[in-house]
Symmetry: D2
Subunit: 346 residues, 4 copies
């Protein structure tokens, strides 16, 4: 496309919103024309993120009262809280049907209205859009993303677990009943809301699990793993908080089926991702660190042999704000617009 796409970022004052702006500023085909933020409406972006002081950016506005038809966005990134999102996007997509929407909340990730109601405690407010939405893990659903009008950008934990596991499940290479995902995330994954449990003095010099046995990302994992397997899959998943800003590392314990060795599991992943620009499979036996992907849109995956015969340890790492959120969203935008998939992301 010759001209630049007109971009809006809804919810620009949070961490994923700020990261979207950072990435879009260096994208050759993107022009940011709209930034929204409720409590900070009227402020400049530099007031909520002083690192943007050197750049010209639209003033933050409230969503209430916006005319989406007049805004005529080519692409809207939506980084609003759960539930609010459904209402805003129903209106936006009704008023401006040609706008492509990439939603970074959890609102449209589950296809099944019953699963949604169970995990979120209420009926979905926009069930028609829920059906239409495409789950935006590019490497897995690229073809559908290309045609989509509404993308449900995946969760950070789920991306980190799905990229290594879906190819193994599709290949029927691992026991579905013995998958254990032990995940560890930096603090930006928990958002920018002021809560006591997220204060520096509560977090620094400490480590803990949370949501043990009942984290909402499980519903996403169930959905995508079941699609890949062709039957219901339920995995064990425990998230933990690491005293660092960015990064997720998942340590995944699997058992090969029918004598599949760790080396064979590694070969499946290496082949699957051989030509993917944003997934890098390390040599067998090497495992990644979060610092190797910090600030980038990469996912690093390693596979090692467990000493317990037949078992393998798969470790994946990504930056929760980039491949786990805003970078993944820009990658999806590139696919939707027919741009090179890596534009603005290297």
């Amino acid at each position: 496309m010759a001209t630049k796409a007109k971009i809006g970022v809804l919810g620009a004052s949070g961490y994923t919103g700020g990261e979207l702006v950072r990435l879009l500023l260096r994208h050759p085909r993107a022009e940011i024309v709209l930034l929204t933020a409720e409590r900070s409406a009227g402020k400049a972006m530099r007031d909520v993120f002083p690192q943007f002081s050197p750049y010209q950016l639209p003033t933050l506005v409230a969503i209430e009262g916006l005319n989406w038809a007049a805004a005529a966005l080519d692409v809207a990134f939506c980084a609003l809280p759960h539930a609010t999102t459904q209402k805003v996007l129903m209106m936006l997509m009704a008023q401006s049907p040609h706008t492509k929407v990439i939603d970074l909340s959890a609102d449209f990730r589950l296809h099944d209205t019953a699963a949604y109601a169970k995990w979120y405690g209420h009926e979905h407010h926009a069930p028609a859009l829920q059906k239409e939405a495409v789950y935006g893990l590019t490497e897995i659903h690229r073809r559908a993303i290309r045609q989509a009008r509404l993308i449900a950008n995946p969760g950070c934990y789920t991306s980190c677990a799905e990229l290594p596991l879906i190819p193994l499940i599709k290949a029927k290479a691992i026991e579905l009943s013995e998958i254990v995902i032990d995940a560890k995330s930096g603090m930006t994954g928990a958002g920018r809301a002021a809560k006591e449990s997220m204060l520096f003095s509560e977090v620094s010099e400490g480590f803990n699990a949370y949501g043990v046995g009942k984290h909402r990302h499980m519903a996403e994992l169930d959905q995508e793993f079941s699609i890949a397997a062709g039957r219901d899959v339920m995995v064990t998943f425990t998230p933990h908080l690491v005293p660092m800003n960015r990064g997720i590392l998942s340590t995944i314990y699997v058992r090969g089926v029918a004598g599949k060795t760790p080396e064979e599991l590694h070969a499946i992943l290496a082949e699957t991702y051989a030509n993917e620009p944003f997934v890098h499979v390390l040599p067998f036996g090497q495992t990644p660190q979060t610092r190797h992907v910090r600030g980038s849109n990469m996912t690093f995956i390693g596979v090692a042999k467990d000493r317990v015969p037949g078992r393998a340890i798969v470790i994946s790492a990504l930056d929760n704000l980039v491949k786990g959120a805003s970078g993944q969203a820009v990658q999806n935008m590139n696919v939707m617009l027919g741009e090179p998939e890596t534009a603005g992301l290297l």
Copy 2:
């Protein structure tokens, strides 16, 4: 004293309150009989600080409705917010006049009602108590503390600056017009209230000054330095936040008067504190680190020669939650009760 003192901690759910409980639990003469917390009333202490799970402690109660005469506390530590403190202590000290009170807020630190009104924006609610209160920097005001009924425990920044500077000022050894205090504090100094600016993701991997030119601790510094000098003193003071939990380090720039050398300044401090258990002056030229005093009630002080002739660099370090707050408070309690000053603090 043969029996244990009956102790109350008002505001036990904050960081200084929790630190008081930690110190009092191992004090041979203290028995904690009352713990208050407003929002957490009805909870166990282990619910707000799980590290106390192994210990028997009173359930947290609200202050509203307490009968101070019936409580019959020997000592009340008050770690309540500014302004609330004045109202609570007026009532407590009226109902239970024999209770000794050690207040950790800023409410009673300033003797001058006009200075108080200027810095805090309103008249003091308990001016009589304000007059009565003794400023509780033990090494400087030990004699008055011994007789006092109400102690205003000093601020963490101010303690860290006053311990090295007051002896130099008293000795008329430094230029009063050229004192620069560049102070750096860990995050617990900012309290446990949930604010965006104190989130891990806002604080980690960053460093900044705040309150530049107008921090309230300046009023305390003015008061104590002016008393020491016998005339008005106004210093330059800039606080900074360090991405760590505990610790304050002050880098203090001074110029010797009348040819006083850095070595002579060092000698004044070394002599002043030679027999103090909680102030340690390092050999000339060595400077302290916050980690050397972490968790202890010590203040370490170092003096080094600046390359600019006539100038010295004085560096002091203490743990803001111990010598800068709760340890200092227990030290004051020991003095008030006639216990060994180091009881429970080594």
Copy 3:
């Protein structure tokens, strides 16, 4: 005992050595009479750990040339590197047979000379002592520790996994073939040697696994779990490094046998540790954080239900330098000397 025990700390300049000194300084029955350090011989303890500046401590000396008979130690804590330990302790225990020795290295933890040779790559230099040594996890081997002359203090990772798992294994309550231990440790666990991989700039803001499939602590786990089970047990164990100083948290995935529910597993642990001063089992469904045990000799254990039927998630946390090393060592000393087990540790 009326008089104080004469204590030596071999290897006092490392983190576990420093932590031993910190704990022994406040122990009512311990007198530190000997401190050794090879590269720092001749220095004061305050030169390697300035936090000890206020205390009187023996000057650091080299081991070479010490006369152990003349030293006449009641207790020697040995925090020397692997292999060196064997040679030093052979000589010490030959020259001074009445000295009780608590070794914090890995040298005497494995009873089986063949297992030792396999994991450490050479024959044991003191096979007779290897046979004599008692594995020093107090809660599990208290009776044998009481009689022992040589204690092999357990590893930090292993303590954190054995305390929750051994009672479950002894009770035949969990599937032995499906135990997964995902362990996370602060950096002091890796020692004080200067290595690039342990620099602040390499560690901060990052997270990674290491020793995947082949960490030496596995041999200790095998030994103790096999003793508890009465047959060979081999578990999956992956250690990770957390950007913090202190603390280990183990997330342990187990499956109940014969319909044992997570609640029943919790009941076994709660009953086992009901009267233990240093192991605290949280209410069912609650899980611990490393910050709750920082600086203390406590182990906190939580048990939660996994959503996968029949599976439970057990999480344990301890301070690697205290219950995982030096505090555990002092606890063993108390048992060996007939002192109250909690002396100096509360």
Copy 4:
């Protein structure tokens, strides 16, 4: 220029070397053709910095035996240790006179051979080159840089202090005898060599000054401030280490001369830097944080009024690895090659 410049990075395995590679990879006119590293010679760049795994880069080679004429580099960045640098660059510049050299060590920053000998303890090995070298703070010496063959890239601390102070000194707006620079740096500023004092467990949760009264960067400050003032200037400068990876913040205390107000000092800086892409002066009274410049080539400067009459507090912040080292070096390359100064740096 139409084709890409052939670039070599000498010393590519350290932090500044790695940062140079990160920046050059996204520079539209740069092609990395040579990477050297002594201890890691023969390895791939991905072995020392796994984050480069997705990129094609030359294998690391040793400098010994390289033929500089044959290498025919357009630009050589030199990130070698002090002293080694002098010898390598003498040979390189003799064999390949047309290669433009940007040196990131301290070796060529001082023009005065006597000052060099005093601060570094030995005669300079390449005095002719020392005379020829241009001090590479672009905003101050842009014209000379454009013509230069050898650039001495400034130190990180010095850049952070010189950018705010040189314009004030040139304008004769501040007292030269009362300048105090209290500087705080993240740990990457101290390099990647394995030293005990730089271990995570020594640094985390702590803060300290170092080099008090005698840091080598003082010589650079003296030189540049004296040039700006037209007479000898000697300032007070104290560096500190912050437990974070990146960033320097300098808190600078100055007194206006002849009634110059803080507002007037601010105006001088705002005007000086109005059109500079990499120096941003905040509105009067606002002060910067290191996190606002992390990862970017920006310097943020704030000026606030001190409450002591006549004094101002100037605070500057930059990323020590970017504007304080590698980004500054690329900026200089752009100037030397006639490229847009911001190429590869936004």
